[in-house]
């Protein structure tokens, strides 16, 4: 291919950098395989932890039913029908004793154990009837006399043994489910004693006391966002931004290698300037950033669904993502050029570059969403260019944003590029390094 004499050096630089990159297997792994693996692992982990789907997080509950009554059967049936818990009756191929069940929890073999004591169903029924009779005697059906009911005929307690490592939400969930079931049973028994049968489903979860609660997504100008904010929609842009900025490490180390082995000085004897040499690098590594974006989006659309995750959708205005990708690529490359110019050694560039990118990613909401961070950390997230890029991606993918909506973040990223690139050139001129 023929170039004009003016662009020939740039063409030579781009060709050289492309060849060097293509032959650097370790570098290619860092640039393409690592973000893909991170996306897959983190999306699967987060899906298991934060997904709102009914079967995403299941805790195993071992039931030791020493009662065998109707209420015990109802409790076990209700827990089994709850999407968060898997009920087990056996352990090690046999029905466990209370002691065995307790031991299984203590050894971490099972998350929780529910021991329903002998005579529990009957005691609860008797307890309800006595309370109703006491209420009848006092003339107030809603008022019971706890002193008489609890002391004269105590209900044997349900025992729940929980693994101390069980997350707080699941721990609370067990207690809420069981107390609600017992309460529901008591309410039913009270109404039955009054000659009223409650309709099926009354008191079940999912009802809000007759209130009409409408849930709505917040989108730009009322435009429709995606159907559901999924782990894929959050993770693909987040890890794409991380991968793009991680290019700082191979870019900066390549620049330092050229400085140390003398190829930079040799190149600078030729009629090309440092700006041209660096521009060639930005073009090559910028193309890599775009390739990373395409690869991770393709993985979000095709690979993640294989693992049971939602497929990536690009929002109502996918074209708006193009300037964001270009600006993010330039910002990442500018940062890499700055580190590669300022750092004194290969080790300094790789360790400092990696740590800075990880910190910027952490405060920028790549690893966990910004809204779950402590308040003082949320203030810092605005200084991270990864946060600007991520917000722009999320604007398009999840909030139905258009080109105009992502303009502020795009300009921010371009400004970051200009700042870092100019800083690198200024430093090179001042220090000759």
């Amino acid at each position: 291919m023929k170039h004009s004499p003016a662009t020939q050096p740039l063409s030579a630089i781009v060709t050289k950098d492309l060849l060097c990159l293509c032959r650097d297997k370790a570098g290619l792994t860092v640039l393409f395989i690592m973000p893909l693996a991170l996306l897959l692992v983190m999306a699967l982990v987060q899906n298991a932890v934060i997904s709102s789907g009914p079967r995403s997080v299941r805790s195993e509950l071992l039931v030791v039913d020493r009662d065998g009554g109707a209420l015990a059967a109802e409790i076990v049936g209700s827990v089994a029908s709850n999407g968060y818990y898997t009920v087990r009756r056996e352990i090690g191929g046999g029905i466990p004793t209370s002691e065995l069940a307790r031991s299984a929890v203590l050894h971490g073999d099972i998350h929780a154990c529910l021991i329903i004591p002998r005579g529990f169903s009957e005691a609860v029924s008797r307890h309800s009837m006595k309370r109703d009779m006491a209420a009848d005697a006092s003339g107030d059906p809603g008022e019971s006399t706890p002193e008489t009911t609890s002391v004269s005929d105590p209900v044997p307690p349900l025992e729940i043994i929980l693994d101390p490592t069980l997350p707080g939400a699941l721990r609370e969930g067990y207690l809420n489910v069981l107390s609600r079931l017992v309460l529901l049973h008591e309410v039913r028994a009270t109404f039955l004693a009054m000659g009223v049968e409650l309709p099926a489903g009354a008191g079940d979860a999912g009802r809000y006391g007759g209130l009409d609660i409408r849930i709505e997504d917040g989108t730009f100008s009322g435009r429709k966002g995606t159907d559901m904010p999924t782990v894929t929609q959050q993770n693909v842009p987040a890890w794409t931004m991380f991968a793009m900025f991680f290019i700082v490490v191979p870019l900066a180390t390549q620049m330092i290698r050229e400085r140390n082995d003398g190829t930079l000085r040799r190149s600078l004897v030729a009629p090309v300037g440092y700006v041209s040499l660096v521009t060639g690098k930005i073009l090559v590594y910028g193309m890599v950033c775009v390739a990373q974006f395409i690869l991770l989006c393709a993985a979000g659309m095709t690979v993640l669904p294989w693992f049971g995750l939602a497929s990536l959708t690009l929002g109502a205005h996918p074209g708006a993502i193009v300037p964001v990708v270009v600006a993010a690529a330039l910002a990442a490359c500018g940062f890499g050029v700055l580190i590669g110019t300022v750092a004194r050694s290969h080790v300094q560039a790789s360790s400092f570059g990696a740590v800075v990118v990880i910190i910027l990613a952490a405060i920028g909401g790549v690893m966990v969403p910004v809204y779950v961070m402590p308040h003082y950390l949320r203030e810092f997230s605005v200084i991270s260019p990864l946060s600007w890029g991520l917000n722009a991606f999320l604007d398009v993918f999840m909030r139905g944003g258009s080109l105009a909506d992502v303009l502020p973040e795009t300009c921010g990223l371009l400004g970051f590029f200009v700042f870092t690139f100019t800083g690198a050139i200024f430093h090179r001129k001042r220090c000759g390094r």
């Binding site: 170039h3 030729a270 009629p271």
Partner: protein, 272 residues
Amino acid sequence: MGIDATGTDWVNAIEVRNLVKHYPHGTRPALKGLSLQVAKGDFFGLLGKNGAGKTTLVSILCGMLDEYEGSAAVAGCDLAQGFDPIRSRIGIVPQNLALYEDLTPRENLAYFGGLYRLQGAVLRERVAECLRMTNLETRADTRVSRLSGGMQRLANLAAALVHKPEILFLDEPTLGIDVHARKDIIEVLAQLNRQGMTLLFTTHYMGEVQDYFSKVAIIDEGALLAHGSIPELRAAYPRCRDLEELFFTLTGGHDKNDEAAPAVFPGKGGAA
């Protein structure tokens, strides 16, 4: 002939006057008022121990170092006026292997040729010619990292020739290679010199090269100790049997005051 502002008509390929260079954190100057001339077409040997100032001088003449005192001109162009007119007229073979080791010699040469705005068939022909000249044709498509040390040095030389420079700076180009590889490189250089190329060759191995040098300068601690052709130096230092002995006499443990007194070219900033 003095310094020609246009650089179009020149006799001295290199002309250096009272050159002083201080490094920012250096305890002593790297160059202390060095003056010398290299005529067009010379095969000029710049000899000195490690740290004598050879690389500093070459770096200044190739535009890699600025902020020096005195004057320096290359191909008739005063470096103080800017380096751009000279860039395409000089080539440099650095001390270390300044090549991309993941690329082949052919790809390296194409890259450096591209920087000098060579392209298409012209570039391909020049690359092929340089590979032929350095006997690297059969290994032209092997990655530099997989070549022997001698072949790597030849590739390092070839990369400096691709744009046909008029003046070639060679900063210890035979460092760390065996005698056969050194001989190969010297023969290529001698051929280039016969074709009219001016060579400034810095080294502290002088056994194999001294017969090829048309002129020699010996420097130590940034100052010129002797300057002239081999016969002139022999005549000036009759007690020294060869260049190596002269070098040791001037820079080593011998009494310098006995030998350094007769300046070879007193009028041209000769012996210090």
